[in-house]
Symmetry: C2
């Protein structure tokens, strides 16, 4: 991509590391600079050859960047935008890969100079693992990547970023930060909270008898608590409304079971099975999923 | 196993078919007779060579059996016990592989003659798929199989059944039907209800953006509604109490998010992550899981 000669990735955990590796594999002509504040992570990133250059100075890391991708926990974005603000080249694009988007847009608007273009990114991909050792260049293959834009967002920057994520293997969707946060509360933040509640509702001793169903249903509860606390805190209104929705659905099932209402239980179970089946068919048609 | 020359499997769906295939592979000297009431299933079972003999007469299917395994939906057990009662050879063992155990024991006690030995079985293994096409001879490899017994249960029959499931690859546990149903409500029936509620709380259109986390968390919601309705109806008291527990945990998370209490959110997320991590370690040590 001729308009992206250097990309800087700030934060080299599972996601930042995977972005850096994916760029090296898919866009080999682009120079990748990685920044992380921890010396031990820099050493591990160098050992894994995660980027062309790995540096310890955040301002110098962005000085020649055409695109800066912030891949740290959401709670650090405001401070990082402030730190890099006057080191960013005019015309450069700044994005982040946080799982909520309303507050990052607000912080970018407040902290970044008007000479750079901010667009939100959310590649819907990840893992319950953490750390650059688990980074994979194919993490974004077939994933949906949502770009968030407002009326002020630079259209050229959106097009460049859209091409960038498409090159990395993503299917790109564009929406407003508010719509993103509302939908993601339902499809991503709610499953996380639910998996956590499911594990916490159980005793360790009893869990030893659990089968594959429990393990799959609870997998994402093994995700990093600090990252997820930031996600939930920055999408509080939507997430609490989503929790109310699942409590209402659980109560429906509970009442049907209590009343020995077989027809109603089957109706609720069939609705879920059919909805999930349509979802799988959609994903297979879009080649996001192989069955 | 010299005390088991013929085993009859009643019901040839995913589980019954897998039991039949597992016996053929692990205990090739044992004759396996399969019964299913549907002609189309019998044809498919014959095509897959799921058993040595596949018959359409349930009473004749058990006439020479040393062990009868009922693998139909729980709601049919009482009737099936009644149908086979006076066709069972004296001294034979009857078990079922239903996911709840209190009511099957009650029905066996009521319907089966005192000359045969009933023991409950619950191999904690399965899949969201249904039908004999998805049966697998290795479905029980490394799975826990819970045997349920009461003071009246014949000890010799328990030992024979324990050896049988061990030969099929299971780790066998023995407990009372009441303890089984209480624990399984938490570790199996609750995850199922939760996965269903999670799917039902979401709109189909929005789900198109869902990632791998949602798909895993909701996988078991694709399970067969009629089978699961029977499970929930036959374990109603325990399951509704388990639903109350997860609603309480969801409410804790909701309040912490609403109050922007980061310390409390992280504490709840860390508790779940640590508990799940101990569970995975336990399963890996027991070789029930490869990581």
């Amino acid at each position: 991509m001729k308009d992206l000669r250097q990309i800087t990735v700030i934060g080299l955990g599972l996601l930042g590391g995977s972005v850096a590796l994916a760029i090296s594999r898919r866009l080999p002509a682009v120079k990748v600079v990685g920044y992380t504040h921890r010396a031990s992570t820099r050493r591990r990133a160098r050992r894994l050859a995660a980027a062309n250059k790995i540096v310890d100075d955040i301002r110098r890391s962005v000085a020649d960047a055409d695109l800066v991708i912030v891949a740290t926990p959401i709670g650090t974005f405001e401070q990082i935008f402030g730190e890099i603000a006057d080191a960013l080249p005019p015309g450069s694009i700044v994005t982040d890969i946080g799982s909520t988007k309303v507050l990052p847009h607000r912080w970018a608007n407040k902290m970044l100079p008007k000479t750079v273009h901010y667009v939100g990114s959310h590649p819907v991909a990840g893992s319950e693992q953490r750390g650059i050792e688990f980074a994979r260049p194919d993490l974004f293959d077939g994933a949906t990547c949502i770009l968030t834009t407002t009326r002020e967002t630079n259209r050229q920057a959106v097009q460049t970023l859209k091409r960038f994520w498409t090159e990395l293997g993503c299917l790109v969707k564009i929406m407003s930060p508010a719509e993103h946060d509302r939908i993601l509360a339902n499809i991503s933040h709610l499953p996380h909270v639910t998996a956590v509640a499911l594990v916490n509702a159980n005793k360790s001793e009893e869990l030893k008898l659990a089968g594959k169903g429990f393990l799959d249903t609870s997998r994402i509860a093994s995700g990093p608590p600090n990252i997820w606390a930031d996600v939930l805190l920055t999408n509080a209104g939507n997430t609490t409304r989503s929790i109310d929705k699942i409590i209402a659905e659980l109560s429906k099932l509970k009442n049907a079971i209590k009343n020995q209402n077989k027809a109603q239980i089957e109706k609720l179970l069939e609705a879920a099975r059919d909805k999930r089946s349509s979802l799988l068919n959609h994903k297979v048609r879009r080649k996001e999923l192989m069955l």
